[in-house]
């Protein structure tokens, strides 16, 4: 195959510019008895940025996995440049110029960025191919404005740089159809914007970009066309200027979901007080420095801030996983608890919803009933040390998934990892809230969740608050903080640097997030 650079594709003489570069017709895909895609149609124009929108479990990723050859469709037609094609593995997709960046990056961490690109696209002797790929990758980076140090091991690169390596990997393979699965899930707003700008300049060279997302804002700001999927079907393909947020939301969820502000009417006495706590990381640098705040019963205390300013450590401290070096944590009716273990804190009514659900929230390899009941089992609610009562567990789990509207449960013996993000989070909440906690620490509880699931999660936090609980909501999403909080603290450099009463001024908060007030 002769090398074709990105610049080469600017050539206006490229054939078939008018038609679709990719068209999918009547695609059906089933997993066992479950129909993931039901008669789906999708098309992609040359030089466009196309958003694929939908809730968790709508079939977006499955559809894109079919496009890039990871799954084979049960039936349906695929047209590439107007001609029917078979794609039964990623290699064939490559040959057609289709490349996909998966949500979880597929990089070899100790290898350099360049070697990772070579691993996928290299041919011939090691040195020659490395030099060829370096030249090509550098050239492409220049055109689309990527800055990556190609010689650093991937593990030393930031998340957004790793994503760039993934994108370079498929561009170096001459991809002209680029698929990005939830590209912004792990990026900050700034990084996301840079990434989309690069994608736009790529589209300007004649490539086509599809990005899968459930964030409406992104679809509105960066897409030329939007295709909406729901329940394994394509609902419609629209232009962003044709409709507003509410209309688009209605398309996505099939009903109107609007969250409104709901401030607490019943704020009581202080429940938990953190007094000048400090904690060093293993390398001796302070992660938390003289951090203080107080949360009262019936109050949601929102902690805004850019990620990496000590939020993870704060959650680890409040869940008993890490110990503080100085300072004190007091519960108003118990006393000091800074040395309590995780199980002791739970018994005192403090629960945590961790942002990394896969690591701290659920055991994905175990089933739904086990994941739900573990905290109850530890507390002795389901039998003794000698005998765990599985029948009680099943009954309680059934009630809970009903009460917390956990969907996609075919059987209670199904692995928790098979639940979609939103339903997995509901399962976590069902477990944590089933014992009526008095203090809830929620860290980015809606990360990766769609509109409807987010609003359900918010509902549960409000319920916990209205029951007289104290809620600490830590989030990088300022919209979420402003919507939910009764009082807002801004975290920066491991400390609370400013506090605001709701309703607060968004710009003021933004300023103190970046510039220490």
């Amino acid at each position: 195959m002769p090398p074709t650079s990105v610049v080469g594709q600017l050539d206006p003489a490229v054939k078939n510019t008018a038609g679709f570069v990719l068209e999918l017709r009547n695609i059906v895909k089933t997993f066992g008895t479950f129909t993931a895609l039901d008669d789906v149609n999708f098309n992609l124009k040359r030089g466009e940025v196309h958003a694929l929108l939908g809730e968790n479990g709508a079939g977006k990723s499955t559809l894109m996995n079919i496009v890039c050859g990871l799954y084979a469709a049960d039936s349906g037609e695929r047209l590439h440049e107007g001609e029917p094609v078979w794609i039964s593995n990623p290699r064939e997709a490559h040959a057609l110029g289709i490349g996909m960046v998966h949500q979880h990056y597929k990089l070899v961490k100790p290898f350099s960025a360049l070697e990772n690109i070579q691993l996928e696209n290299g041919s011939g002797p090691y040195r020659t191919s490395l030099n060829r790929i370096r030249q090509k990758a550098t050239e492409i980076s220049k055109i689309i404005g990527f800055e990556v140090d190609l010689d650093l091991p991937v593990e030393q690169l930031s998340i957004s740089e790793q994503q760039r390596v993934e994108i370079l990997k498929i561009l170096t393979a001459d991809a002209r159809i680029i698929i990005l699965d939830e590209p912004t899930a792990v990026l900050t707003d700034m990084e996301a914007e840079n990434m989309f700008t690069a994608m736009r300049s790529l589209a300007a060279t004649g490539c086509s970009v599809v990005f899968v997302t459930h964030k409406l804002r992104e679809a509105f700001s960066f897409a030329d066309r939007i295709t909406v999927m729901r329940g394994g079907k394509t609902i419609n393909t629209v232009l962003p200027n044709q409709l507003d947020v509410t209309e688009l939301t209605t398309l996505i969820v099939g009903e109107t979901v609007v969250e409104s502000v709901n401030r607490s009417k019943n704020i009581g006495d202080p429940k938990i007080t953190l007094n000048e706590i400090s904690m060093k990381r293993n390398n001796g640098v302070n992660a938390i420095t003289d951090l203080s705040f107080q949360v009262r019963s019936g109050e949601i205390y929102g902690i805004a801030g850019i990620g990496g300013n000590g939020q993870n450590e704060l959650v680890a401290i409040l869940s008993g996983l890490r110990k503080i070096d100085t300072g004190s944590i007091e519960l108003n009716d118990v006393g000091r608890v800074e040395n309590a273990t995780p199980i002791e804190l739970r018994d005192l009514g403090i629960v945590c919803i961790h942002s990394d659900r896969e690591t701290y929230g659920l055991a994905y390899g175990l089933n739904i009933a086990e994941n739900f009941s573990i905290s109850g089992v530890l507390a002795g609610e389901f039998g003794s040390y000698i005998k765990v009562k599985h029948k009680l567990i099943h009954e309680a789990t059934e009630l809970a998934i009903e009460a917390y509207d956990v969907r996609g449960v075919r059987t209670l013996n199904q692995k928790a990892g098979l639940l979609s993000g939103g339903n997995a989070q509901k399962l976590v909440i069902a477990r944590e809230f089933s014992r009526e906690p008095s203090i809830v620490v929620a860290h980015s509880p809606c990360r990766g969740l769609d509109v409807r699931a987010s609003s359900a999660v918010h509902e549960y936090l409000l319920k916990a608050r209205d029951r007289g609980g104290a809620v600490v909501l830590i989030s990088e999403d300022l919209d979420e903080i402003l919507l939910m909080s009764d009082r807002i603290g801004v975290m920066s450099g491991g400390a609370i640097v400013a506090e605001f009463d709701a309703p607060a001024n968004r710009n003021e908060i933004g300023k103190s997030m970046t510039g220490h007030g």
Partner: protein
């Protein structure tokens, strides 16, 4: 150029598409694994036929003579008992992600503990065997305690430390057998023979040794602890996601320690079983093979205690029939190992299809 690489006419190879499977029902998994097992047995039989054993001889040695002669059944049961126990030992370790490769060392130390009691006539005669078993369990635990502490306190990889302790245990055994525990009558390097009441007895009225009942009792306890008790329930979380287990309030270190100690105790008991039911004394080589057979059985059984019994009996049949083959058909012992390996590979390979499926593209 691009269009020419993908055609509508596809060759047979291109029509197969490999996909990741979401989940598989338990009975389907069972069928798959037994399919792998049957394939392994079939290939093994084929190899033996090629090596010169006739098909009818094969049937005769492996099935008819094993199950029709009570001597052979006894031999199989006698060998099965310690295999079941080391299989359980490996399984309980694996269940806590504690990779105990030091089963052999703990078997040696368990037998040393039992022999200590026997040699120095500690305790009343009537309870001697019981005491030997208990001390064997304690010695097995003691031999795993060091790697366990190193792993939990200093994150030293237990695969290496338990493995290396095998060699230390072996040399310590030689030290005893060539030194103070040398047989006082024959001066051979083995301990003096156990008294009758220091051996695991044959059951009154029955023909077989009590050791297999001991093994089955341990299987029942194992099933209870893992499937019914709270310990087993919580241990699943330690195995599946230890960070999540910690954050939900499970004391992961204590659970891993319990599992590791249980593994050591079981291996110690296995050592006692071998010397008190098969050899009736401590010999230089009584432990050979049990360590890795235990790991192999634990692996094949996927830590399932009932499958541990099944695979242990299979391995025992293979060993008993293998001895006959060696003597009467001049089949080398390495052939028996080759058969073991073939079975392992076939069963292990079947696991691939639990997580993947091959689809035929129309």
């Amino acid at each position: 150029m691009v269009e020419s690489t993908v055609k509508n006419q596809r060759n047979l190879f291109q029509r197969f598409n490999l996909e990741v499977r979401d989940h598989m029902l338990a009975w389907q998994q069972a069928v798959l694994i037994f399919g792998g097992l049957l394939l392994g047995l079939f290939l093994s039989a084929l190899m033996l036929v090629v090596a010169g054993v006739g098909v009818s001889d094969l049937l005769n040695e492996f099935i008819i003579s094993i199950f029709t002669s009570s001597r052979n059944i006894n031999a199989v049961l006698l060998l099965s008992a310690p295999l079941v126990i080391v299989g359980l030992s490996a399984a309980i370790g694996f269940k806590a992600r504690f990779w105990n490769i030091g089963i052999e060392g703990q078997v040696i130390f368990g037998a040393i503990g039992a022999t200590l009691i026997a040699n120095y006539d500690i305790g009343p005669d009537g309870f001697r065997v019981l005491l030997m078993g208990l001390v064997a369990a304690l010695f097995g635990m003691a031999w795993i305690a060091l790697p366990m502490v190193l792993r939990l306190k200093l994150q030293v990889n237990e695969i290496i430390s338990t493995l290396l302790l095998n060699y230390i245990a072996f040399n310590f055994l030689l030290h005893l057998l060539f030194g103070s525990w040398k047989d006082p009558i024959t001066s051979f390097p083995n301990s003096k023979i156990y008294d009758q009441f220091e051996r695991l007895p044959k059951l009154a009225g029955l023909d077989f040794n009590v050791s297999i009942l001991l093994a089955l009792a341990l299987v029942i306890i194992f099933v209870w602890v893992l499937a019914v008790s709270r310990f087993g329930f919580v241990l699943k979380f330690v195995y599946s996601n230890s960070k999540m287990a910690k954050s939900i309030g499970i004391n992961v270190g204590v659970l891993v320690a319990c599992a590791a100690l249980a593994s050591g105790a079981l291996s110690g008991i296995a050592g006692f079983t071998i010397s008190a039911s098969i050899d009736s004394r401590l010999t230089q080589s009584f432990f050979v093979g049990y360590g890795f057979l235990g790991i192999l059985i634990g692996f094949l059984a996927r830590n399932n205690p009932l499958l541990v019994v099944l695979f242990s009996v299979m391995m025992a049949i293979l060993m008993v029939a293998g001895q006959t083959l060696q003597v009467f058909y001049q089949i080398p012992f390495s052939m028996i190992q080759l058969i073991q390996a073939t079975i392992v590979i076939c069963v292990a390979a079947s696991e691939f299809f639990i997580h993947h499926r091959i689809r035929l593209v129309k």
